[in-house]
Symmetry: C2
Subunit: 307 residues, 2 copies
């Protein structure tokens, strides 16, 4: 049940209609591992710069996250700056400074090589492939990607996809990757590229899980106060993979529960800036929101149809 994530640990500056936060904790591996840590011990491979506050690493450690794979290099930490409008759906990237992330080459500590569940965060597909090379016998390899790689590194991405069991993408990325506008056709095309499962994230509209034989639709929790959607996708993936890692097997039922738990965790993240809400959320709040999802989606079987 060991869970490994490779991705960014970053300092974000985020502007929303509700305020501006500068150099706050961010990064795909950060959101993922914090979210997953509520369910399974999580190992992180990432790089930070000399300026990265020790307090952030201490926070992750306190959550039980294994940071042996996080190296501190000469230079500044990866920085992302973005802005959201009132729609709070898509960020406008104002600035990206790769810094130490520029020369990131993921090297797994020996004990990480036994990881059974692997999440390849949104890094260059060749680096994602290098991670798979280093893992001995994973039960499930999941990956995220983005428009930048779909356009710019397509051959490498297609190669990586052949080694991936489950792909997380948003609907725009799924369309871009496959050239299919219809989301069912796009999902089927992705399943033909290698992964046995694909999760299509649709922001406030929820997410779809496509398997060869089954489809699962998971709504997003309707939230009246969305403050900052940054990290929602990685938080989703963390809740998903964390739940899956503690399940006895990977099947339709455990994958569906993982989808709901991903949505549960993401619904907390968006309620405050950065990881503020994930820092304070409790297991009993998580359980309660899982039950809220049951109520949100429950309907009775059909009675007789009279006319």
């Amino acid at each position: 049940m060991s869970l490994l994530v490779v991705g960014s640990v970053a300092l974000d500056s985020v502007e929303t209609p509700f305020g501006l936060k500068e150099d706050v904790l961010g990064g795909s591996a950060t959101y993922f591992s914090t979210s997953a840590s509520f369910f399974a011990p999580t190992q992180v491979v990432a790089v930070v710069g000399e300026d990265f506050p020790q307090a952030h690493l201490d926070f992750l450690k306190a959550r039980g996250v294994d940071l042996e794979g996080v190296t501190r290099e000469k230079g500044r930490t990866f920085r992302w700056k973005g802005r959201y409008g009132f729609q709070l759906n898509e960020a406008e990237t104002l600035d990206t400074q790769l810094n130490v992330f520029q020369s990131f080459s993921p090297r797994l500590p020996e004990k990480y090589r036994d990881a059974q569940y692997v999440f390849l965060g949104n890094i260059h597909p060749e680096l994602q492939s290098q991670v798979v090379d280093q893992v001995k016998a994973p039960k499930l390899v999941a990956a995220d990607t983005m428009n930048f790689w779909i356009n710019g590194s397509r051959p490498a991405l297609l190669k990586t996809l052949k080694r991936v069991n489950l792909l997380f993408v948003n609907d725009g990325e799924a369309r871009q990757l496959t050239g299919e506008h219809n989301i069912v056709r796009a999902a089927r095309a992705i399943l033909d590229m290698g992964p046995q499962r694909v999760v299509i994230k649709r922001g406030e509209y929820g997410a779809l899980l496509f398997e060869k034989e089954h489809t699962f639709a998971c709504p997003a929790m309707p939230i009246a106060d969305v403050f900052d959607p940054t990290g929602a996708g990685d938080t989703f993936a963390g809740g998903f993979m964390g739940t899956l890692a503690i399940a006895s097997q990977v099947n339709t039922e455990t994958l569906r529960r993982a989808m709901v738990m991903g949505s549960v965790m993401a619904s907390f993240t968006v309620e405050k800036f950065s990881l503020e809400r994930l820092r304070e959320v409790t297991r009993s709040e998580i359980r309660a929101r899982f039950s809220d999802f049951k109520r949100l989606t429950h309907f009775e079987d059909l009675g007789p149809l009279e006319g």
Copy 2:
């Protein structure tokens, strides 16, 4: 359990990437009553012109729809012409000819005045109000509206909303009506305007039902071959109101089942042009797709959370 609909019976010309159909059967009351007729006897108040093919009326009659309230006036039938791009989400209206609909003033035949369930299709809010005046003791009055009335006839619409128990709107209309971008806040604001329930339609993303105390999220069936989304919203409302009309009471459970049946019926409509799919669909196909929705949304309760 008598169900009444007031709306348009029209001739549509629709262009999609898959073809062009001219002067085919359309109109809100047509889609609504055909969809509802699978569940409950439905009475229609509408107007057609001299050119309206008798065969279309015969089709509705054969489905058990009561057409006593449909009058044939001098002049041409209401015509709508629209075009969809590959996204198939929103129609671009190319032409609207009101024709006999221009002077439409809904008058209910005496027996219609006992209707218990009433659907006010998307007509001028003052006409909607006139319909409510004529119904003796309705159990539930539902209404649809659109941006045209929200912008152009706001005071009349707000007056009508005070007499409506349930409003169907899409998310854009909900935002426009309330000035709230967040959909939860928009729904709450609508509940403050009069209706006890609001259904927010989100096209391929499904629909949300907001009550004071409960929220229900219903996905749309993922469909690989969407041909023509015209009438999907009215088909949804027809399946919804038809199912509700045969339920013994209006409560959270019956409303949720109505939401799913609305989605079931709409998922058929979009598979072919005009009412072609609704013409041929069978009760057993309807039942089977309702079960598909169960499978699409089903997930197991949460087991122990270990970490």
